[in-house]
């Protein structure tokens, strides 16, 4: 990987007006589609990024291996690959090993080796532990203890593809038109506090959770020290990583629903809490007390995804943009409305949600036909053209 610190401002612009771009789309009926549309949509926000990070997360990606953990690992050298592969063999049943297909793309220079493994947890080794915890522990072990190797995707029936380049270039490099999924998220990066590198591109992932983020988590220090106590180690040099681990901790391990998690990460102000009915007030006070170290401070818009669900929300005073579009069973979340309309011109609805209000798309089930929530609480823009 080349050193990018010298070229992070290639035109020597006095003022750079970039910001990150994020885009997510989900067919809540579960129908799968290729990466063509999302590449076009995120590519339309080219000017928000600067080519130092792009990436995609795809769900419903590996139906033929849906029961196995799919690891995507980037290596800086053959040596690190050999080291990690023997570690994987010691700790997992390795079902399939292959190099992730790529095609020559002029803009993608000196990429790392990127390999994919379908793994089954060795139950002989995973004792007194949930398989998910075992996998998390092994991911942390590789990322912190093995030089030149990073696991950047570790979930089942999903995968992350990312690297240094504009997102549309990353899509071309990883041949994403050849993949199918029912839920895609993507990100174009404008690195602010840390340099651009392959592991620092979004989405960030642990197990099947992914996060793409526009903004800056200024509570990073508090968040990561708190997460360390729960065994999560931050290795990607980027604030967004903490969001992925907070989500995994709160939703998977503590079993909290996203509506509550949103109130932990973007809580209402104290004076707003005081005006609420007693039971609601007590709940929100308790959340702020118990989970104060999980509060995200600073500007952010994030799209969180895991199997069957896509969630978008912003910080409570919306210092970064988020627009929602709905067309039939499709839910779109984007930094800019224009990108949604480029691939779906005749939306049923388009609106801008309130800060901190989560917009949730869920796979429809027979019992639950109302699969896109947030719509009823919309306070703005629910009428369109």
């Amino acid at each position: 990987m080349r050193d990018l610190t010298e070229i992070s401002n290639p035109y020597s612009d006095g003022k750079i007006i970039d910001s990150c771009s994020i885009f997510g789309m989900m067919d809540t009926s579960g129908k799968c589609f290729s990466g063509k549309d999302i590449t076009k949509a995120i590519g339309n926000m080219h000017f928000r990024g600067n080519g130092l990070g792009g990436g995609f997360a795809i769900y419903g990606l590996y139906p033929e291996y849906a029961d196995y953990y799919a690891f995507h690992i980037m290596y800086l050298s053959k040596d690190s690959q050999n080291q990690v592969e023997s570690f994987l063999k010691e700790n997992f049943h390795v079902v399939v090993t292959d190099e992730i297909p790529t095609q020559p793309t002029p803009a993608i220079i000196n990429p790392p080796l990127v390999w994919r493994y379908f793994l089954e947890v060795d139950m002989g080794k995973c004792v007194l532990q949930e398989p998910d915890d075992y996998v998390t522990e092994k991911v942390m072990q590789i990322n912190t203890c093995m030089d030149g190797a990073f696991v950047f995707s570790s979930g089942k029936n999903m995968g992350v593809f990312k690297g240094v380049g504009y997102p549309e270039e990353i899509a071309e490099y990883f041949c994403l038109n050849d993949y199918q999924g029912y839920l895609w998220t993507s990100h174009g990066r404008f690195p602010t506090n840390t340099r651009g590198w392959w592991g620092g591109a979004h989405p960030f992932n642990i197990l099947d959770w992914t996060v793409v983020h526009n903004g800056e988590i200024s509570s990073y220090g508090i968040n990561y020290r708190c997460l360390e106590q729960f065994g999560y180690l931050c290795t990607m040099q980027t604030d967004t990583e903490v969001v992925a681990y907070i989500i995994d901790l709160l939703m998977r391990k503590h079993g909290l629903p996203i509506e509550i998690v949103a109130k932990i990460m973007a809580p209402p102000f104290w004076d707003d809490i005081e005006r609420l009915p007693q039971d609601e007030r007590e709940l929100l006070i308790a959340l702020r007390q118990v989970y104060s170290s999980m509060l995200l401070n600073g500007p952010f818009t994030i799209i969180i995804a895991h199997q069957g669900e896509m969630i978008g929300f912003t910080d409570r005073i919306r210092l970064r943009p988020l627009t929602v579009g709905v067309k039939g069973s499709m839910l779109y979340l984007s930094s800019e409305e224009a990108s949604i309309r480029l691939i779906s011109p005749d939306l049923d609805k388009a609106w801008i949600p309130m800060g901190g209000e989560p917009i949730i798309g869920r796979l429809a089930t027979e019992n639950q036909k109302q699969f896109i929530t947030g719509v009823t609480e919309v306070r703005t823009g629910n009428k369109l053209r």
């Binding site: 339309n44 005073i317 943009p321 309309r341 480029l342 801008i352 800060g355 703005t380 369109l384």
Partner: protein, 250 residues
């Protein structure tokens, strides 16, 4: 491209640099009317044309539409994103849809009419000097921080899509306000207002301003201005022109 002093263009995936270069060239050639179709997020439309040209936009223009604009009239058939009318000097923006965050930020002249709702921090730090007074009229409701740090100009919030007895929900309205005026049709609670804001019933002079502003709004969007003016209006004004003047003195 078509005749009669009209420049017509299907924009699609043209970059904002290429599009704005075409517009500058067209205006330099004496074009008076511009029609842009299939606009998808191109920024800064109308920024540097500096002539009173008419611009019709079909689609979703990008951020900072009409930024620093001096003269053109833009009509958008669709929604606009963030930062429309940023530091606008003169001209008109009419949006047949909703508008995103910081619409009209730091505007120092010109008029903006939004048919539906607006996002956060709309009208932030609008200002005025002498005859230059920006006007921003919003048909729907607003999200938080409306008129934040407002230093001048007139902001009208009509709340036409609110239900009977439903108040505006925006918080922090006029926080840091130290100039200009906000006319608000419908209800707000005290806790929704910044502490630098006073509330009174509009007087006759205020209604003269409102008649003109609401009249122009109604003419663009086919409303009956008389009906709109029958609603209950509140006037929000700054309690001080230098709310923090003493903060740094000693």
């Amino acid at each position: 491209m078509s005749g009669n002093n009209t420049f017509s263009l299907k924009v699609e995936e043209l970059s904002h640099r290429a599009l704005n270069a075409k517009l500058r060239e067209a205006v330099a050639n004496g074009i008076q009317r511009i029609e842009l179709r299939e606009v998808y997020g191109q920024r800064y439309i109308g920024t540097d044309l500096n002539k009173p040209v008419q611009i019709e936009i079909y689609g979703t223009p990008g951020n900072d539409m009409g930024a620093f604009m001096n003269g053109p009239s833009i009509v958008v058939h669709g929604n606009v994103q963030d930062g429309s009318g940023n530091t606008m000097d003169d001209g008109v923006i009419v949006v047949h849809g909703h508008a995103g965050d910081i619409t009209g930020l730091a505007a120092r002249g010109g008029k903006i009419f939004i048919k539906e709702d607006v996002g956060y921090r709309v009208g932030i730090h609008m200002k005025e000097y002498g005859e230059k007074k920006p006007l921003l009229v919003i048909g729907g409701t607003a999200q938080d921080f409306l008129g934040e740090y407002m230093a001048g100009g007139t902001l009208v919030l009509l709340g036409l899509n609110l239900k009977e007895n439903e108040g505006h929900k925006a918080r922090f309205i006029g926080t840091g306000m130290h100039g200009g005026v906000i006319y608000l049709r419908g209800n707000v609670e005290d806790f929704q207002l910044g502490k630098e804001v006073g509330v009174v019933e509009p007087d006759d002079n205020d209604y003269t301003v409102l008649q003109s502003a609401v009249g122009e709004f109604a003419s663009y969007f086919d409303y009956d201005a008389e009906e709109l003016l029958k609603g209950k209006f509140l006037k929000l004004f700054p309690l001080s022109s230098r709310p923090y003047g003493r903060l740094y003195t000693h």
